[in-house]
Amino acid sequence: MSITRNGKKEKIGAMLLLSMMAMLILLPFAPINVSAQEEEAAAEGAEEATGPEMAKDVFYWDANGDPWEGPVSGPPAPELVYPDNYGTYGNFQSRTLLWISNQQHLYFGSFVLAVPMFVWVMELVGVVLYRKDPKLGKKFDDLAHEMMKISLTAYSVTAILGGVLIFTFLALYPGFFGYLSSIFKPVMHIYALLFILESGVLYVFYYGWDAMNDGCGDWKYGHMAIGTMLNAIGIVLMVMANTWVAFMQSPSGVDAQGRFLGDIWKVIHTPLMVPIVIHRILGNAAFGGGVVAAYASFRFLSAKTPEEKAHYDWMSYIAMFMGVLALIPLPFAGYWLMREIYAYRQQMGITLMGGLLAWVFIMQATMIATLFITVNYYLMQAMGRMPGYERYAPAFKWILAILVISTISWLTPHTLVMTPAELKAMGGAQHPVVGNYGVMSAKNTAINTMITTTVLTFILYQRSNINIKVPWAWKGNLFLIFLFVGAEINILFLGIYGYYIPANVRIGLSVPQVASTLTCLFVGVPVNTKMLKGATQIAPIRWGKMSVRGAYALFLLAVAFTWTMAVMGYLRSSVRLHWHVNEILRDNSPWAFTNPLGYAGNINSLNVMLFWTMLLFVFWLSALSAKKAPASVEEGAGVGKAVPAGSH
């Protein structure tokens, strides 16, 4: 490509084009509302003589605080009868079959949604870096390209699994699916159309990569605009699919009998829709990071040349980093969702937190502890490739000790399982020492300490092969010490203080606790980054020299992400109890019960196993095509030159 660099004007033009394209994809929404209103108006006109039958919405209220009323525009929710409205395959639990096909589709869907997000960010980073350092820019660009290639194969698998899912629905739950599609029929059509659009954009995006690659010129920005569109369509697709799930959990826009009231927006915008969507977008990003990191680790382990090894080492680090970045706001999104659930139906919140499903949260706690310890461990392993890390190595074991103490406190259950002899020996149901760790105060302290410690590890990682040169380094260090020690003391103080005050005051403590943690993250890391300005390297990073254990830690991280997603999905789905659509459409099949946690654990493990096996196939496929394209190997070699790692 021989396109010269252009001025600002063209850049602005490109951005305008980009945003216009992004606007375009919102178009399909516009006619829905219009047509719905038209229908409404038409219905009103037609039935003026008799008056349209108005019914009360189950959720929406009008300005006076009375239920919102809309014209009845659909059939009531059917009363499902077991053998008639349900299908079976032999003695299999229909529900489990649907569960598995749903989960597989969701995994692949999340993956193909998350990867373009990464690719977009990586491409942007590449373009920005290209100005200063074309080689580094190219490296990021290639990384983005490679990730996209994985996603391409996964995309077709997603489509196939989507087909399988629909057939499973039609075969096993025809009554339920019929009702849902009667309400969502316009949305479902738009969904299908968008899916086709997504495919088109995806292929243009992927196959136009090399053709449109001119470093940081106009064509590249055009390519990025296509990437933006791809992501926008992807997110809209996901939001649409989520609205069905959100409708099942918290229906609105229908009356108590499940009759559609003519306003499609009220059906889409259910009470829990927004928090579920936000939570899931963040979750997808974290999950995508984990999967790409696992892919890179796999390639890292099976790499034949040092250059390849270096490349995949680097790739796994970047992916892990992005994943963890998305992980950090996730708990807050979770809190918000939980709050909305309590606001929607307190009963639902209690079932989750204190009732039937409370033990799932113990499992979630375990997964979170696993995630944080794994991230720390990986960073420590990754420091092995940074000459000079030895200065910080003695700190590792103490970091680990803090993490383990926090984990032990985090995992201590409030209700202990014990024999009468143990009860007697303990002198009561509450252990005088351990019992202190089973309450909320201790748990908040533990998780905040764990996050703070992870931030600290990252700061150590950032500076492990660096000699800091800024003249105010000593001030910066002192500042960081007081920041972290102060935060930790504050977290501990609030944790302990919580034992001395009544419960109603204690609730308020969690906010300053979390604020302390976030201060470390949002002040500590930038200050540390600032300190690295103009610093000298003891030696460049020896990419590819990370220990094998680091790669295995990334696998654990990826599995933990997938597994957490599965177990929380089980939780979200189970909280509907015996309803297909909460309080509207009852599940009358023999599988309307809520499976115990152990069964869910087995199915989740099976699901994760299935997903990774299929993903391995996808990886293998993309590796096959890599062999046919020697150019990329050459680029890899170039990367190796840019980072003189092999010499060590």
């Binding site: 709050r339 919140g349 000699n467 003249p471 007081f482 003391i489 609730i507 403590l509 906010v511």
Partner: protein, 51 residues
């Protein structure tokens, strides 16, 4: 702190103590006054599931 020696100018221990004290006061003010006192008051009125 270890890296400080490697920078060009030497920093006296007195200077460090003074700055350290300043930082300690700043941390105290930030954590105790701002976070614990200012933030905690509105936090009392948070709804579920904070309770």
């Amino acid at each position: 702190m270890g890296e400080a020696e490697e920078t060009a100018e030497k920093v006296g221990i007195g200077q460090k103590i003074v700055f350290g004290l300043m930082m300690a006061v700043a941390a105290g003010v930030y954590y105790i006054v701002f976070l614990n006192w200012v933030l905690m008051v509105p936090a009392q009125n948070l709804p579920y599931p904070y309770k």
